[in-house]
């Protein structure tokens, strides 16, 4: 069994070497694929905070992915049409600046996470799954009916938004931004797991009654995890929309929620790099199997069934065995 630490290093190596190789060989499409993988990984790392640490089976994380996407879409749309976002009580204009868009995506996701979390955490187990799925669907239908921002057709943004000092239109530049954010969030996540909050949350997942008897509120811990989780997935949504220069209700769809969860499971729930492995494998399958057959989702379904029925702990679990204690 390989130490998880080495496997993580190898995965990080893949995320560094392949894009550099593609840059040298002048293969921008490969860089775009890797960018897609990094963004999916970020979205799934977000979900993993709720799912892996908090034990919250959220089947509505597309909500955050979509909110992030529309944060980008709406701000950039107003900037490119030179229309104000809001005139009252203060004048707010759109923006093409990524950092601003990201901050907006994070704040909006946090607000949504708070509201959905407060309602959904009144319940648990299978209710929680159904409710998060339902709220995701609510945002989906809302975005379809919101004609001011394209309704069903979505919003196109003509030029990718900008980041000071970089030319985001160059694939490797945009990739660098995405992978840096992914690494930063992974670093935060690795600290989070070992922090007092992480320990309390970990216990709240396993034995909420115990957490109550030491005077802590397990629901509040889970709510905090749900919000954090949502902000990370929201940030990924903003990046994804910018990658495609397009945002549509599809980002809110239940399939998106399902896929984000699939990334986490293929890689390994609760493992730091689980979502990263899952996203990488998903993008690779999508690329290769998608090239071989129009119906590649059948194979994805079979793979997923196999992992659920026979392979505990996802790919990382199969390669590295059971998770080690955090020391």
């Amino acid at each position: 069994m390989m130490r998880e630490y080495y496997l993580n290093t190898i995965i990080l190596g893949i995320f560094i070497i392949i894009p550099i190789w593609a840059f040298i060989m002048d293969e921008p499409f490969t860089i775009t694929l890797m960018t897609r993988a990094a963004i999916f990984a970020l979205a799934a790392v977000g979900l993993n905070i709720a799912l892996g640490l908090g034990g919250l089976v959220s089947l509505g994380h597309a909500t955050f992915f979509g909110i992030g996407g529309y944060s980008m879409g709406i701000l950039a749309y107003h900037a490119q049409t030179f229309t104000p976002l809001m005139e009252w009580p203060i004048l707010v204009s759109g923006s093409k600046l990524m950092p601003l868009i990201w901050i907006n995506a994070v704040i909006m996701s946090a607000v949504a996470g708070l509201l959905i979390g407060i309602l959904s955490l009144r319940t648990s187990g299978v209710y929680f799954i159904m409710i998060t799925l339902a709220f995701g669907q609510m945002f989906f239908f809302f975005s379809i009916s919101w004609s001011a921002y394209g309704g069903e057709d979505g919003l196109s943004i003509y030029i990718r938004n900008s980041f000071p000092g970089l030319n985001t239109l160059v694939p490797i530049h945009y990739y660098t931004l995405c992978i840096t954010l992914l690494c930063a969030v992974l670093w935060i996540n690795s600290r989070l797991i070992k922090s007092p909050f992480g320990i309390a949350l970990n216990a709240a997942r396993q034995v909420p009654a115990r957490v109550e008897t030491v005077g802590l509120n397990p629901v509040r811990l889970k709510l905090a995890a749900f919000i954090m989780s949502g902000t990370v997935t929201g940030l990924a949504g903003a990046l994804f929309a910018d990658l495609n220069r397009f945002v549509s209700p599809t980002m809110f769809s239940w399939q998106t929620s399902g896929e984000i969860m699939v990334f986490v499971i293929i890689g390994g729930v609760g493992r730091l790099f689980g979502p990263v492995v899952g996203a990488l494998v998903f993008v690779a399958l999508e690329h290769w199997l998608g090239g071989l057959s129009d119906f590649w989702h059948i194979y994805l379904g079979l793979l997923l069934l196999g992992i659920v029925l026979f392979g505990r702990g996802g790919l990382i679990g199969m390669i590295c065995g059971e998770a080690r204690l955090h020391e």
């Binding site: 600290r191 922090s195 007092p196 320990i199 309390a200 949350l201 396993q206």
Partner: protein, 249 residues
């Protein structure tokens, strides 16, 4: 009376037609161990749950440190200094023994909202946790997973977590269960000293331990306290002998 730490008055709880607690009135005083004994199904765990707040009584009150806490949550009571150990171990099985103890220390600090600094780097928390583990004799197992502990060691960890809270009163649900002879002896002498720190409301099946430890005993049968008294009084009570102790003594 000033020396009463914890008391219940007329505590009553029905589950449908079954009355699990009938008008239970008893108290726990400074420096004492008050044992609750009774046959299986007598409503001991239901009683404990009402004392700790995880079940709300239909009637009656719970006072803790002179305050009516009947409507307060488990958390409120824990923060006020009521520490509970569970009958069926409620431990984070995937985590290390030390992490389980740290959870208690974190609860005592009331501040789990620290996100980036490693908990094991926090000297105060770790000291508190290690000290508690040391006292229940688990220092050597601090880095094991809780799931790797024997049944008895899990009981010890339960008590250890309660210790990290530096509580004003302990409520212990069968801390001796599964400990074996030597373990029981150790736990008995440990609890014997512990009562100086905070009084203990003790539910226990191990009669030898109960008779060795308890200052007072209450006998619970079918949700009702049929007798309260010193060890001698309870041993001598013919009604108790008839209803519960039977031929054992």
């Amino acid at each position: 009376m000033n020396n009463i730490v914890l008391s219940t008055k007329g505590l009553t709880k029905h589950f449908g037609a079954l009355s699990a607690s009938k008008n239970i009135t008893l108290d726990l005083r400074v420096g004492e161990i008050h044992a609750i004994i009774g046959p299986n199904g007598a409503g001991k765990s239901t009683f404990i749950s009402q004392v700790c707040g995880s079940i709300k009584p239909d009637n009656g009150t719970v006072h803790f440190l002179g305050r009516d806490v009947t409507q307060e949550t488990v958390r409120d009571r824990a923060q006020a200094g009521l520490a509970r150990s569970f009958q069926i171990s409620a431990l984070a099985m995937e985590d290390s023994v030390l992490q389980n103890a740290l959870l208690g220390a974190l609860g005592a600090s009331r501040n789990p909202w620290r996100f980036l600094s490693p908990a094991l780097g926090n000297k105060m928390l770790v000291e508190q946790a290690k000290h508690a583990l040391d006292r229940v004799g688990l220092s050597d197992h601090a880095n094991k997973r809780a799931s790797e502990l024997s049944h008895g060691q899990r009981r010890q960890l339960e008590v250890g977590i309660a210790l990290t809270l530096s509580p004003k009163a302990f409520v212990m649900d069968e801390p001796m269960a599964g400990l074996g002879f030597e373990g029981s002896m150790k736990m008995t002498s440990f609890l014997n000293r512990l009562r100086q720190e905070a009084p203990i409301l003790l539910v226990e099946h191990d009669m030898e331990a109960v008779f060795a430890l308890a200052d007072r005993i209450s006998v619970l049968v079918y949700g009702e306290v049929i007798a309260t008294g010193t060890v001698e009084e309870i041993r001598a009570d013919p009604y108790v002998r008839d209803a519960y102790l039977g031929e054992e003594l």
